[in-house]
């Protein structure tokens, strides 16, 4: 244990942490957007839309995330499609976790009792109003716990960006490992704790949202 060493590491770890949070937030937004979009599409009455959404979910749940990331970042340029490291990461994570989230959205929507659809129809709400004003707000409460887990998985996955030289927390810890051979256990323990704190923040936000959204209802 060597607190003076920790102070030496702090600036680099802090910079890495900021990048990690950035990547996680951006990918999280893309993933949630895709999850809601394709989750709803999988319940569409049009076969084609359902089919496209289904293929998307199957494909991106089936790939290995790190391989997808490599493919987007290193292989696509060969087809003339180039991404910066951060956009490659956001794209790969967004597509991958969007596919997993899609299942959560779909099953939460299906879990809303049928009577809610019927009541909304009896009041003559349009299909979009039924979905966005009646069904989805109820589904969101059910989604929160599994979405919380999904976002933690996504946060953990952001560590993979170090492979494509994006200077996140993991990347910086690798740099420090090169300089402080003797203190690797300490170093990685600190990094693990930092990730744990970030995960806890996600859980905290999810809990607060859950409490707010279910206030008075249940």
């Amino acid at each position: 244990m060597n607190p003076s060493l920790w102070m030496e590491w702090a600036p680099l770890l802090w910079k890495g942490l900021v990048t990690t949070v950035q990547v996680a937030l951006l990918s999280g937004v893309v993933a949630l957007f895709l999850a809601v979009l394709t989750g709803i599409c999988r319940l569409s009455k049009y076969k084609l839309i359902r089919g496209i959404a289904y293929v998307y979910v199957m494909l991106f749940r089936g790939v290995s995330l790190l391989v997808l990331l490599f493919w987007v970042y290193f292989s696509l340029p060969a087809l003339g499609i180039e991404f910066s490291a951060i956009s490659a990461a956001v794209l790969a994570f967004g597509l991958n976790y969007g596919a997993f989230g899609s299942e959560i959205v779909r099953s939460s929507i299906l879990a809303v009792p049928k009577g809610q659809w019927e009541a909304a129809l009896a009041l003559n709400l349009t299909p979009a109003q039924r979905m966005f004003r009646i069904i989805l707000p109820q589904a969101v409460v059910r989604m929160l716990p599994p979405i919380n887990n999904l976002m933690i998985e996504l946060l953990k996955a952001t560590s993979l960006v170090s492979f494509i030289t994006l200077a996140d927390l993991t990347f910086q810890s690798q740099i420090l490992r090169g300089q402080f051979f003797g203190n690797t256990i300490e170093l990685f323990t600190i990094v693990l704790i930092l990730y744990f704190i970030l995960s806890s923040c996600i859980t905290l936000v999810a809990r607060l949202l859950e409490r707010k959204l279910s206030a008075g209802r249940m």
Binding site: L59, R61, S64, V67, F70, S75, L187
Partner: protein, 219 residues
């Protein structure tokens, strides 16, 4: 640009060697995860509060932190004292990481066994161990087999992370091929396709298994 099939086939043998390593790591990691996961699931049920608390904290911590850093911690940190091969450390890390997930799966399986089964075992004066091994677990595990199967796929898809500690799986081999030939499209595309085909195949197998299970359990 299109996939250069001839080139793709020429690198296939090397990639398949990597696949073999990946599959080994998957199997070893998954077995560790299954065993350690069961131990964790049982520890959570121990009456002693400290054991329960420590186990839960361990599960929570491992689940909330990246496998990659755990790999680094074990390989670059702890392994200084053990000097195990990168492959061994990688498989162990995979196993420990996913044991925390499987602990949850076991827990749900155990919770789904009816309370009456415990009471009946008590009434028949079975010992604690006997109750677990011949009454509870035989009922708890079959329904969760498909979910466990899904984790086998997840572990398999996580093996590329072992590239981070120089294990010669598919991704490491692709990188090596890439630095030799500098053709970036084929290696990663091939690896991606191999993962896709294998994990989708496994997913279909487990899906069929699940359907068959459901039929058996609803009878």
């Amino acid at each position: 640009m299109e996939l250069d099939w001839e080139y793709a086939f020429s690198i296939l043998p090397t990639l398949l060697k990597g696949l073999k390593t990946a599959l080994y790591a998957t199997v070893v990691g998954f077995v560790i995860a299954c065993v350690a996961g069961l131990v964790l699931a049982l520890l959570v049920r121990v009456r002693v509060k400290v054991v329960k608390w420590v186990t839960n904290a361990f599960i929570e911590f491992v689940r909330s932190t990246p496998l990659l850093i755990q790999l680094f911690f074990l390989y670059f940190g702890l392994n200084k004292y053990f000097q195990l091969s990168a492959f061994t450390v990688g498989a162990v890390a995979l196993g420990i990481h996913y044991s925390t997930y499987l602990a949850e799966v076991y827990r749900s399986g155990i919770d789904n066994v009816e309370k009456g089964q415990w009471e009946a075992s008590r009434a028949l004066n079975f010992s604690k161990g006997r109750t677990w091994t011949s009454i509870i677990l035989p009922q708890a595990i079959p329904p969760i087999l498909p979910i466990m199967g899904n984790y086998l796929i997840v572990v398999f898809k996580e093996t590329p992370l072992l590239a981070g500690i120089t294990v010669l799986e598919m991704l490491t081999r692709s990188k090596n091929i890439l630095s030799r030939d500098w053709k970036p499209f084929e290696p990663y595309t091939m690896v991606g396709l191999i993962f896709l085909v294998l994990s989708l195949t496994m997913a279909i197998v487990f899906e069929l298994m699940e359907r068959r299970m459901n039929r058996r359990f609803t009878k």
